[in-house]
């Protein structure tokens, strides 16, 4: 609560880029950039430990520091049990931290009871009150603020309008479909005009098409309201399509924080690279300052190779769509380093075909071939050449 007196010496631990390996410091500091924001959310050195069923200590939140900008659509992505939901619940006040602080702007909120925090949650299970009508559900939070009746009525109408449920106010939640219930939960949380809206796996109960639709809706609502959204999900596709920034969680801490493009194109480690999208890991050796060799062929590498010594064994991480399949002796491959291999199988996936290729050194590569393509080329046992677009990225 006293930002003036807190020293602002240390840079944010995980404001952007890699946070892994940052040495824990005894001085608890605030992110100076966040100090200036009005309703940005800062998480500072948060920790929480659970005792598991086997009696072991599990670090659900392991020294996490994050700075989330005001008005940002921020995604916490990770596999189940990575601590993302625990962190979200700590922001909402459903869990208490063992150590660390959470600020919204300059207000410290981690010691407030949930009903005094300027945040609201859209629960995974929706948690709509079954004995109240849709309108009463949306009005509940406003009644708690003792707002005048007329104001409540108009806010409820506005909110139901925002989520396209204007004529459903009199219904019970049980009379609505899953997608509609989801929207009521959203309207109920938004009616409170929170500084930060927390969404806990909010779309995971919906079917594929409805989910797509709600993703677009959520983006629209976030744009229209300008509220900071923190969205927890395990669905990387959802994360990439919706987030302004993504934090990829693993073992209780964010491995990488960045824009969807950064996360996808420049994963900092093998976990992030593997978790987001399809990727090929090929063993490689650094052969020059900006050069790695894969299966005996030399490729140009990106900046990720700089921190390694020449001769070090590395892993090259290559997205399938960056690998082009060409017939042997094709002019496309002339003068470029190529990998040679044999097609093992091809799987038709609709808009493209997934092709598995075994390289000469026994490693397997998966690539995607979009039509139009030569059907003969990707027949099993056909010999092909692989061309890699752009620079090769290496991970540990």
């Amino acid at each position: 609560m006293n930002p003036q007196t807190t020293p602002v010496t240390k840079p944010p631990v995980a404001a952007s880029g890699a946070s892994a390996g940052a040495a824990p410091s005894a001085v608890i500091s605030r992110d100076p950039a966040v100090e200036r924001r009005e309703s940005g959310l800062t998480i500072n050195r948060a920790r929480k430990t659970f005792i598991s069923a086997e009696g072991k200590q599990v670090k659900a939140i392991d020294d996490v520091s994050l700075a989330i900008n005001s008005g940002e659509f921020f995604i916490m992505l990770g596999p189940s049990g990575c601590g993302k939901t625990t962190l979200l619940r700590s922001i909402g006040g459903m869990e208490t931290l063992d150590a660390g602080e959470i600020y919204i702007g300059n207000q410290r909120i981690d010691q407030l009871p949930p009903y005094e925090r300027p945040v609201n949650t859209v629960f995974q299970s929706y948690a709509l009150f079954p004995h109240m009508s849709v309108a009463d559900n949306v009005a509940f939070g406003l009644e708690m603020e003792k707002k005048p009746k007329s104001e409540i009525r108009s806010t409820v109408a506005d909110m139901l309008d925002l989520v396209h449920l204007a004529d459903m106010g009199a219904r019970r939640p049980s009379q609505l479909s899953g997608g509609q219930q989801q929207r009521v939960a959203l309207a109920r949380a938004l009616a409170k005009k929170p500084k930060v809206l927390l969404l806990d796996e909010s779309l995971s109960a919906l079917d594929f098409k409805l989910r797509r639709q709600m993703q677009t809706e959520l983006k629209r609502i976030q744009r229209e309201t300008g509220i900071t959204f923190i969205f927890v999900t395990h669905d990387q596709e959802e994360a990439l399509s919706m987030g302004d920034r993504i934090a990829v969680f693993h073992n209780g801490r964010p491995e990488q924080v960045g824009t969807p493009e950064e996360i996808y194109d420049k994963p900092v480690d093998r976990f992030v690279a593997d978790f987001i999208g399809d990727i090929n890991f090929l063993s490689a050796t650094k052969t020059g300052p900006n050069e790695v060799s894969i299966a005996g062929q030399r490729f140009n590498a990106d900046s990720s190779v700089l921190s390694h010594a020449v001769g070090e064994d590395l892993t090259a991480a290559i997205r399938p769509e960056r690998i082009d399949v060409v017939p042997q002796g094709s002019p496309v491959a002339a003068g470029r380093p190529t990998l040679t291999g044999t097609v093992t199988d091809a799987m038709f996936m609709g808009f493209d075909t997934r092709v598995h290729i075994t390289l000469e050194d026994g490693q397997t590569v998966m690539t995607r071939v979009a039509p139009p393509f030569d059907a003969e080329l990707i027949k099993p046992a056909s010999r092909v050449q692989l061309v890699i677009d752009g620079l090769v990225r290496v991970v540990e």
Binding site: P130, H131, F140, M144, A189
Partner: protein, 378 residues
């Protein structure tokens, strides 16, 4: 449905080999074997709703509609049905149990109601098969030596005392049971099973034995008095007081309040509490508007399960209250034993029956309404 294409008379002529009868019968009553017993007890209301075959024939002829015809209720419940599903027993096999069940549930009640309208024999107990309202008159009026009737409030007083005791018992039981039920419903699944079993432990032994145990506890030399004496607060007369009788009643009916409330709360989604807190609700609001609301059907049936039997309680007022306070249960019992006035005893019983029935109807209406509002019965 198939009956659309059939001549409409097929459905009402009662021939079992008519396809549409069979189809509509099995469609509406496919689980009849299981539910027949339950349906039989509520059969009165159900049969009233069903159409009379002749009436419906007239109405169909006038409307000239092609609506599928419902067979009469007895056919839907027990009608011969060739299309029994494989592996399923024919529903007719439920009939013996239903008849026996009806005899056990309604039989004694019918006898009591019949007795209440008969007259007292000149000597001894039993009844004379002669219509009379004397039993009911005696509830409110007294006849003096000369045959003049005076209003007599003594029996009303007994009713009032019983009702008051039952109300206090119910209030205390519900107040104690709610926190217990809420606490149990928030434990782990395994702990819940054990705790529910603990609540039902009293049912393992006979009520009279348990009441005797209370006599020992409340005795002048019992543990309570020994304890207060040791503390220097002196001995208190506990046994054979209305308080003792009340303690016995509360003890007896507490599980009957806990169990329905627990079952109402057991399925409660405690994430709703989190959601309410998240929306700014304080503890009091969460309790009042979320938890109590969910427990309401359980509270309603808890009240019914305490109030109704406590009203007619017999054992506790006699053994623990020492019979000093006359309650309805004791009054009835004495009419069949010492007073040998069976019609009067039956009349009191019938009045209680009617009161209870009304109370049960109100309770179930309240319960249904809150269940509907909770979206359970929609």
């Amino acid at each position: 449905m198939m009956s659309d294409s059939k001549p409409p008379t097929m459905a009402i002529d009662g021939r079992d080999n008519s396809d549409n009868v069979i189809n509509s019968a099995s469609g509406t009553d496919s689980a009849a074997v299981m539910t027949a017993a339950a349906a039989a007890t509520s059969g009165l209301s159900r049969s009233q709703k069903l159409q009379n075959p002749q009436e419906s024939q007239e109405s169909r002829e006038s409307q000239k509609s092609q609506k599928p015809q419902k067979p009469p209720w007895y056919k839907r419940m027990f009608g011969a049905d060739r299309k029994v599903k494989p592996g399923m027993l024919h529903r007719i096999w439920a009939l013996p149990s239903i008849v026996l069940g009806l005899m056990f549930t309604l039989g004694p009640v019918c006898v009591i109601v019949a007795f209440s309208f008969m007259s007292r024999p000149d000597v001894g107990g039993g009844v004379k098969y002669q219509f009379s309202l004397d039993g009911y008159k005696k509830l409110l009026f007294r006849e003096d030596f000369f045959g003049n009737s005076y209003f007599d409030g003594r029996y009303l007083q007994v009713f009032w005392t019983s009702l008051w005791m039952a109300l206090v018992t119910t209030a205390v039981c519900v107040a104690l049971a709610f926190p217990i039920a809420l606490w149990i419903s928030m434990r782990s699944a395994k702990a819940q099973r054990i705790l529910v079993m603990l609540v039902t432990i009293p049912f393992w032994t006979n009520l009279i034995v348990r009441t005797y145990a209370w006599m020992l506890i409340l005795n002048d030399n019992g543990p309570i008095n020994q304890f207060t004496q040791r503390l220097g607060m002196g001995a208190h007369e506990l046994l054979y007081t209305p308080v003792a009788s009340l303690i016995g009643l509360i003890y007896t009916f507490l599980p009957f309040a806990v169990l329905p409330m627990y079952s109402a709360l057991a399925g409660f989604d405690f994430r709703l509490v989190e959601a309410a807190y998240d929306l700014g609700a304080t503890r009091g609001v969460v309790m009042r508007r979320i938890i109590l609301r969910a427990a309401r059907p359980g509270i309603a049936s808890g009240i019914a399960l305490c109030l109704i039997p406590a009203f007619g309680a017999y054992v506790q007022p006699v053994l623990l209250g020492g019979g000093r306070v006359l309650m309805v249960g004791n009054l009835i019992s004495s009419q069949f034993s010492e007073a040998r006035n069976w019609p009067f005893g039956s009349a009191i019983s019938t009045v209680i029956l009617v009161i209870t029935l009304l109370a049960a109807l109100i309770a179930s209406a309240v319960g249904n309404r809150s269940a509907r509002k909770a979206g359970i019965a929609s």
